[in-house]
C-alpha cells in the first residue's frame, strides 16, 4: 500500500473499522514507513487525550422523574414532591390549597387536577399600562398602610 492510501485509512484503522483484508496491509506499511507511523502515533495520542474527558453521572432521580411523566395519572405525595421539585413537607403543609383525594389515611393527587391547579396559581406577566399603574398604586397604598 502507498502512503496516500494508508493515510486515508488511518482513521478507520484507529477506530478498528478497517476491512479485515486491509488491516495487515496497513500494519505492514506502518512498520516500514516512519512518516505514516508518526501520523498514526499522533492520532492515537489525540484519541487517548480525548478519552480523558469522561462521562458524568445522570441524577439518580432521572428515571423516577421520567416514569412520572410517562405513566398515568395518580401521584403519591412523594411523587408529587418530585414532580414539582419541592420538599414533601411543603406539599403536606400546603395540602388544603392543593387538589387532592383522601382514601382512608392515604393522600393521592390526580395529575390532571394538579396541572389545572398550577395554571390558576401561576403568576402571569402584566400586559397593559393600566395594569402596571394599578399594581404600582396597590403597592404604594400597601407601603403607606404599613407606615401608618
Amino acid at each position: 500500500m502507498k502512503c496516500k492510501q494508508v493515510k486515508s485509512s488511518l482513521i478507520s484503522y484507529l477506530f478498528g473499522e478497517c476491512p479485515r483484508e486491509t488491516t495487515p496491509l496497513i500494519e505492514k506499511h506502518l512498520v516500514k514507513c516512519p512518516k505514516c507511523q508518526q501520523e498514526m502515533d499522533s492520532l492515537v495520542e489525540i484519541k487517548e487525550m480525548c478519552g480523558q474527558w469522561s462521562e458524568q453521572p445522570l441524577s439518580s432521580k432521572f428515571l423516577q422523574n421520567m416514569l412520572l411523566k410517562t405513566k398515568p395519572d395518580i401521584l403519591t405525595p412523594e411523587e408529587l414532591a418530585l414532580y414539582l421539585r419541592i420538599p414533601i413537607d411543603e406539599i403536606m403543609a400546603s395540602l388544603e390549597n392543593i387538589p387532592h383525594i383522601e382514601i382512608g389515611k392515604y393522600i393521592r393527587f390526580k395529575r390532571k387536577s394538579i396541572m389545572e391547579w398550577i395554571e390558576t396559581i401561576e403568576h402571569k406577566p402584566l400586559k397593559t399600562i393600566e395594569e402596571l399603574e394599578l399594581a404600582w398604586h396597590t403597592s404604594e397604598n400597601r407601603i403607606k398602610n404599613m407606615l401608618m
Binding site: I11, E17, K47, C50, Q52, W53, L58, M66
Partner: protein, 176 residues
C-alpha cells in the same frame, strides 16, 4: 439470559409492553445525557433534553420501523433536539463558553488537559464536532453516524480526520 436487542425491545413496546420502554431508557439514558452535556455544558439543560428525547420515543415509538437499527434513529432524535437548542443559543456566546465539570474528589483527573480537550472540541466547526462526539464518545460506527447525519460514510471519516488534525494542533503543548 441473552439481552434483548434494542429493536426487539421497541417491537415489544409497540405492542404495549411499557417495561420494554423502561429497559431502553435505562440502557441509553446515561449516554444520551452525556451526548448533550458534552456539547451544551449545562447539567440541568442536558437532563431536560434527555427527558425530551425519551418522551418523544414514548409518544412516537409507533413510528419506528423495527426492521431498521434503533441507535441511529435514537441519535437522530437527540441531534434534532440539540440543534434546536443550539439555534436558540446562537446569540448567547457566553453560554457556550461555560465549561464546568464536577468530578467526584476521589477520581484523579488531569483537569488542565480535560479543560483543554473540551475547549478544543468546542472550537471545532459544528460538522466536525458532531462527528467527534458521536464517534469518540458515543462509540457509534461510521455507518451509524452516516445515517444519523444523513451523509456518506466517506464524509464522516473525512470530517473526523480533519477534526483530529485540528485537535492535534490545539493540544500540541499537552503531547508527549
Amino acid at each position: 439470559m441473552k439481552e434483548s436487542s434494542d429493536e426487539t425491545l421497541m417491537k415489544r413496546f409497540q405492542r404495549g409492553d411499557e417495561e420494554a420502554f423502561v429497559t431502553i431508557m435505562e440502557r441509553y439514558q446515561q449516554r444520551i445525557f452525556n451526548y448533550f452535556l458534552r456539547q451544551l455544558y449545562n447539567h440541568t439543560l442536558s437532563e431536560d433534553l434527555t427527558q425530551d428525547v425519551f418522551i418523544r420515543i414514548f409518544k412516537y415509538g409507533q413510528s419506528f420501523d423495527c426492521r431498521q437499527k434503533f441507535r441511529p434513529w435514537l441519535y437522530k432524535i437527540a441531534l434534532n433536539q440539540l440543534r434546536k437548542e443550539l439555534k436558540l443559543r446562537l446569540n448567547d456566546v457566553q453560554c457556550n463558553k461555560e465549561l464546568v465539570t464536577q468530578y467526584p474528589s476521589y477520581i484523579f483527573i488531569d483537569y488542565e488537559l480535560v479543560e483543554a480537550v473540551k475547549n478544543a472540541i468546542n472550537q471545532l466547526p459544528s460538522a466536525q464536532r458532531e462527528v467527534v462526539i458521536l464517534k469518540q464518545y458515543q462509540g457509534m460506527t461510521f455507518s451509524e453516524i452516516a445515517q444519523v447525519l444523513g451523509c456518506p460514510e466517506a464524509t464522516v471519516k473525512s470530517r473526523l480526520y480533519q477534526a483530529f488534525t485540528k485537535l492535534r494542533k490545539k493540544l500540541g503543548k499537552y503531547r508527549r
